[in-house]
């Protein structure tokens, strides 16, 4: 779409109305995953491996099966045997199946090996103790560098796809290399080259709602599934494949979702509950414990990275190179490619080369976590940039401005940027009072930029008008943080009826066409685009009714402020016909009026942000306090600015946790040692300052209102910005996350010799 067609003056968009589901969510009425029950319902529970790597010699469930409260027991044999194994991500259904129920081997501490359904949750939990599993324990590996070493235990032969060069360990399953120019020549032109290595630990998305579902599946192959998910069509498709039933016969309804951040884009307990239900012929509910969430779902990848950047004395970058090794658990999928592609994306570079590795280890299957892969790479790259600025005595914002990608720059990962907002975010940073504010002794300031692609994805939206002139909008993307409000605002803008007159429903899989997951920061972009176009479709039909009533051609009618009006003086002299006047008689003038749109929109529009952080390090305890935080990010167009700010603030807060405190801690035995919120401590209210936000709006040419996704980019800069602030406060470069008090104390000790 040409930018000229883009709407830039708005009546509803950009306002901050109450969200449509607000009342439900402040009164406890909203139904989340675990909040429903069914008549005759059983409770499921899952037996999990206590070993990081073990051959399953035998499972004896006879005692459990004999218990009167137990109605079904399932193992891998109760799932489809027709799901093909393929290398890399080509066989993702097989990977998911292997993850939701172990086959020959348990591949990580917490891997599901069997499940029961019983008459109560307590009975199900008790019954797990009656299942006897005979394990042959195998050598394990949980560290990414060790998993690539020659002597590492092989997790699965044949998992590597075509991209992996000869000679690498079988645990390296995907490989990415890209870039342009001649990096060696570039390093030769530099006045200073800094090369350094960095690590980040796996962190969990940490959504407060554990996975939960209620499943029913009959011997006729027809089923119903209620679950907390970011995408119920992918749940439908995956569960159908794993159970060996037809996709359309499984109807999936998404509950309200209590956070996902990428971690609810796949299935874990859902196929298990369906298998139990099929066997017991009764509905089965499964709710994960927090410990199960940590041990067996989500976390993001851990990473080991080497970055080398050359710079001239004036701050221009001559060459940049990065090697990014990401560990993604016992399955292919660690986003080493994404890390590599995003790492240098904010900069306009002549010479750049990036390499990404996807490495398997004996840990849970990584799941997407907010801009998957990007925060780690930004941490390494932006730390090296900070070091170059410090050593050359240059201002970190000026240096970033000097090298910033702009409209028409060739991105480090290949394409040429369209209209982008990075420079604007840096200019806002430079002008922000935070950047000029004095620091107290013991404090340091850090800057970082961040990039994320954003995503379009398959999208289908329907809108139906009621006789009284209200509208119901059906979208297929679960509302994960206020998207009903932004959808209603966009529909109101097109229809010209009040925001309050629009009811937005997240439709189930039986009532709307396929919708991709609420991920990739795509909801306001793609479902928003489809909402606008569905509303325009309805408007066309409204105009046609007015034309028929007036006896003039359809193209002689236009839509203005909620009314059909003649398009000009030659069209005739008719009073504006309000929407409700048309719908009041729609049954007699041609039938119901609806609008629909479906597509896979491709113009998501990349997004950039710049963060400014002040940190104070206590030299006695090693504890870091974040004393001031400012997020500046390009939203394209903020539909509901309060929820855009919320995304910025939430991304920053998660980044603070990742940078300072959160990590998966494994013992020598390969068992996860901190699987509860007491030991895996996410930021609490008293840990954080207010998080200031600046919404930059450089319109995305690929959206009718200029929207860019905002959900993910906000977690890309924090790791580096905080590491730079801490490093500048402590006077020592921090290379490993999290920067927990013991790590900082050790760094201070090393600094002082």
């Amino acid at each position: 779409m040409a930018l000229d067609d883009q709407k830039s003056v708005f009546k509803f968009v950009g306002t901050r109305p109450d969200r449509p589901d607000g009342l439900d969510k402040v009164t406890g009425r909203a139904k989340f995953g675990a909040d429903v029950s069914a008549a005759g319902m059983l409770h499921g529970a899952i037996l999990r491996s206590p070993h990081a790597h073990a051959r399953i010699v035998k499972i004896d469930a006879s005692k459990a099966q004999a218990h009167p409260d137990v109605k079904a027991v399932v193992t891998r044999a109760d799932f489809s045997d027709k799901v093909p194994f393929k290398p890399g991500l080509a066989g993702e259904f097989w990977n998911v199946l292997e993850n939701v129920m172990a086959g020959d081997k348990a591949l990580y501490d917490g891997h599901a090996v069997a499940a029961v359904a019983a008459t109560s949750a307590l009975a199900a939990r008790d019954a797990l103790k009656l299942i006897e599993v005979d394990y042959e324990v195998l050598p394990h590996v949980t560290d990414v560098d060790k998993a690539m070493a020659a002597d590492a235990p092989v997790i699965r032969e044949g998992a590597a796809d075509y991209s992996v060069p000869e000679g690498l360990h079988p645990n390296v399953v995907r490989y990415h290399e890209s870039g342009h120019g001649d990096v060696e020549a570039g390093f030769g032109e530099a006045d200073l080259v800094v090369e350094d290595s960095f690590t980040t630990e796996a962190t969990h998305q940490g959504y407060i709602e554990p996975h939960a579902c209620l499943a029913q599946l009959g011997a006729d192959g027809k089923g119903e599934l209620w679950c907390t998910t970011q995408g119920h069509w992918i749940a439908q498709k995956t569960c159908a494949a794993l159970l060996g039933i037809e996709t359309a016969q499984l109807r999936v309804t998404a509950s309200e979702i209590g956070g996902g951040f990428g971690g609810k884009t796949t299935v874990f307990i859902e196929p298990v509950a369906l298998a139990l239900s099929r066997k017991a012929n009764r509905p089965v509910k499964i709710v994960m414990s927090r410990s199960e969430v940590f041990r067996a779902t989500g976390p993001t990848s851990s990473a080991s990275m080497d970055v080398k950047i050359g710079m001239k004395k004036d701050g221009s970058i001559t060459a940049a190179q990065g090697i990014f090794r990401l560990q993604g658990g016992a399955f292919p999928g660690a986003p080493g490619d994404m890390t590599a592609m995003c790492a240098f994306a904010p900069y306009n570079l002549t010479n750049v080369r990036q390499v990404g590795y996807d490495v398997m280890a004996n840990r849970p299957k990584q799941a997407a976590y907010r801009a998957p892969g990007a925060p780690m790479g930004a941490f390494a790259v932006e730390s090296v940039l900070d070091e170059l600025c410090n050593q050359l005595g240059l201002d970190p914002v000026e240096v970033r401005l000097k090298n910033a990608a702009h409209d028409g720059s060739k991105a480090s990962y290949g394409p040429t940027y369209d209209q982008i907002g990075l420079v604007k975010t840096l200019e806002e940073a430079k002008a922000h009072p935070h950047y000029a504010a004095p620091l107290k002794p013991g404090q340091g300031r850090g800057i970082s930029c961040g990039f994320w692609f954003n995503h379009g994805g398959e999208t289908s939206v329907s809108l139906a008008l009621s006789e009284d002139g209200s509208a119901q909008l059906m979208v297929g993307t679960p509302d994960i943080g206020g998207s009903r409000a932004s959808m209603a605002l966009m529909a109101a803008e097109v229809l010209g009826i009040p925001y309050e007159n629009i009811r937005v429903t997240v439709a189930d899989t039986a009532t709307l066409g396929y919708n991709d997951v609420s991920h990739g920061s795509r909801v306001t972009y793609a479902s928003g685009l489809a909402t606008i176009k569905a509303a325009r479709h309805a408007v066309e039909r409204l105009c046609a009714r007015a034309a028929a009533k007036w006896g003039i051609p359809e193209d002689a009618v236009k839509w203005e402020d909620g009314c059909a009006v003649p398009s000009g003086p030659n069209a005739g002299d008719f009073d504006p016909l309000p929407l409700a006047d048309i719908t009041a008689n729609m049954g007699a003038t041609g039938g119901p009026i609806s609008g629909h749109f479906e597509a896979t929109p491709e113009g998501a529009g990349v997004s950039f942000g710049t963060h400014i952080v002040d940190a104070e390090v206590d030299p006695e305890t090693g504890k870091t306090a974040i004393t001031r935080y400012t997020v500046i990010q390009d939203a394209g167009k903020a539909i509901h600015p309060a929820y855009v700010e919320g995304q910025y603030q939430g991304g920053a807060a998660q980044g603070i946790g990742w940078a300072l405190n959160e990590e998966y801690i494994y013992g020598e035995d390969g068992r996860l040692q901190n699987s509860i919120f007491l030991d895996y401590r996410i930021p609490v209210a008293s840990d954080l300052p207010m998080i200031d936000t600046v919404i930059v709006e450089v319109p995305n040419p690929g959206h009718p209102f200029g929207v860019r996704g905002v959900g993910e980019t906000g977690i890309v800069p924090p790791l580096a910005a905080i590491a730079n602030a801490v490093s500048n406060a402590a006077g020592v470069r921090m290379r490993d996350l999290p920067m927990s008090p013991p790590r900082i104390l050790a760094a201070l000790k090393a600094r002082d010799g």
Binding site: T27, Y207, I208
Partner: protein, 159 residues
């Protein structure tokens, strides 16, 4: 294991239920009384999503047994509004966009109400420390704290 009979008061209503002695108050509220406003986020008292008050005291209902509720006066998020009238905190949370996914919201609201009953004029720091037992993963707490502080100011003005 045989079940025990419990008589208690929830949001002013007299209720009775039978529970296994191992079941928590949270299990009983959710599974026996269908009051699913309180959520289980952790089951270990770390996240506060299950916050309720028992005889006016803020507790994690996942850390209390159902049988301990006998004869007590329990208040949950479902009892915060009076008829059609939302509690000022509920109103302000919607107005301030102080929730994103909303799973922590019931617990945060119950905890914030308990704070304002105890301390009608909290400092930002006091509010942050009081709510430190309620995890929110979406908001970064900024809008939650602003909503609580502003509600406190409104309620002081109104009283």
């Amino acid at each position: 294991m045989s079940k025990l009979h419990v008589s208690t008061t929830v949001n002013g209503d007299s209720v009775e239920f039978l529970c296994d002695p191992r079941e928590t108050l949270l299990d009983c509220l959710r599974d026996k009384l269908n009051l699913t406003g309180a959520k289980e986020g952790c089951g270990t008292g770390d996240c506060g999503a299950c916050s309720v008050t028992v005889d006016g005291r803020l507790v994690c209902s996942c850390l209390m047994l159902g049988v301990e509720a006998d004869g007590k006066d329990i208040a949950t998020v479902e009892g915060m509004a009076e008829g059609e009238e939302l509690h000022p905190l509920q109103q302000k949370f919607i107005e301030y966009a102080a929730l994103q996914c909303g799973i922590c919201t019931p617990g945060v609201l119950v905890a914030a109400k308990a704070l304002l009953e105890k301390n009608p004029d909290p400092t930002e720091e006091e509010a942050r420390y009081w709510l430190a037992g309620n995890l929110c993963r979406c908001t970064g707490y900024d809008k939650i704290i602003r909503a609580v502080m502003d509600t406190a100011a409104d309620m002081r003005e109104a009283s």
